[in-house]
């Protein structure tokens, strides 16, 4: 329970046995009374066993589906088990669970709330093509959603019942589909989206890629995904 609402925390995880126990432990420590579902996206390490030992419910996919695939499973679980709120958190520990009540509060007047970096809190910076991609995505998506969105690829979001219902049946498994395309789809169907500034932390395990070539590829793919999302029904 968070503010009287049955809340499920969904953590999609792929080979995160190094950090998943700490993340699950922290969430359960900070938010007593919420249920944690770790969706193991076909890990080859002991992610599922470690998460279960840390006290999470575990849904283990037989093979890798990608973040979008893992998330639709999470939302199906939330719908089938009648949760009021589903919150998505990354398995690498970059999201601080202490912001969860803030996100849930905003769900009173909104359908989907996004925890956003670079929105005032914390010190998270990017440069080069990656930054251009983010500027492009936030400019276009802010227009589509009629609200200011600065961090469209954030994996920290809270959904109410209406959005859980939609995501349980429709959630793209393609690259960036889990973030960019879901935002376009949600906004187009008249759901209210809001972002709330959150400070991000350094990842507990794993490293983000910083190669310029990869950043360029990312920009290209982001543009392609966005264009497709906008012309799709």
């Amino acid at each position: 329970m968070v503010n009287g609402k049955r809340t499920l925390i969904i953590i999609p995880a792929l080979n995160e046995s190094g950090s998943i126990a700490d993340v699950v432990g922290e969430v359960r420590g900070e938010l007593p009374g919420v249920d944690v579902l770790v969706v193991d996206d076909g890990s080859t390490d002991r992610t599922a066993a470690v998460a279960a030992a840390a006290g999470a419910r575990v849904a283990k996919l037989p093979y890798n589906l990608g973040v979008g695939g893992a998330m639709r499973l999470g939302y199906r679980y939330a719908r089938d088990h009648d949760y009021d709120v589903a919150i998505q958190i990354d398995a690498d520990g970059q999201h601080d669970p202490r912001y969860v009540p803030k996100l849930v509060d905003l769900l009173d007047d909104n359908d989907l709330v996004i925890g956003a970096r670079f929105a005032g809190e914390g010190d998270y910076t990017v440069r080069g093509p990656r930054r251009w991609a983010m500027v492009m995505l936030s400019a276009v998506l802010s227009r589509v959603a009629h609200t200011k969105l600065t961090d469209t690829t954030s994996g920290f979001r809270a959904a109410n019942r209406r959005v859980i219902e939609m995501f349980a049946t429709w959630y793209p498994a393609e690259y960036l589909g889990d973030t960019v395309e879901t935002l376009v789809h949600t906004a187009r169907r008249g759901y209210r989206i809001r972002q709330v500034p959150v400070a991000m932390r350094k990842r507990m395990a794993g490293t983000p890629s910083h190669s310029p070539a990869r950043a360029m590829i990312y920009l290209g793919r982001a543009f392609a995904v966005l264009t497709l999302a906008l012309i799709r029904r």
Binding site: R57, V58, A59, K60, L61, P62, L65
Partner: protein, 123 residues
């Protein structure tokens, strides 16, 4: 004459292969029928390559053989697109199956944990 023999034999060989695959149930009818229909068109053409010359002239194509080549490429492209579409549908189906499987496994784990707790409380 030699050429006609080569193209004709190739056509008949393909026909035999498809009929055999269908006979062994290794090809679904919907694909088998498609290829059989194609061969019904292709074999006469392989024996008499000039059959389409009149149609080609009507469309402004220099020779019937070029027309066949063009139509063949268009047809193969369409088949490729169709197969991509089929694979996309199949991926969506296996995705749903994988989700169902994961949900069932989670449910079994939860039931087992609940039962174990009950048993240990009784004991």
């Amino acid at each position: 004459m030699k050429l006609t023999l080569v193209t004709g034999l190739t056509g008949l060989l393909l026909l035999g292969t498809i009929v055999e695959l269908l006979r062994r149930r290794q090809l679904r009818e919907k694909y088998g029928m498609l290829w059989l229909a194609v061969l019904v068109v292709v074999i006469p053409l392989s024996l008499f390559p000039r059959l389409l010359d009149n149609v080609a002239e009507l469309l402004g194509v220099a020779s019937g053989v070029s027309l066949v080549l063009f139509l063949g490429i268009v047809f193969l492209l369409l088949v490729c697109v169709h197969l991509s579409w089929e694979v996309s549908a199949l991926e969506e189906e296996t995705r749903t199956l994988a989700e169902d499987f994961a949900l069932l496994r989670a449910q079994i784990d939860a039931d087992r944990a609940a039962r174990d707790e009950l048993v240990s409380n009784d004991g």
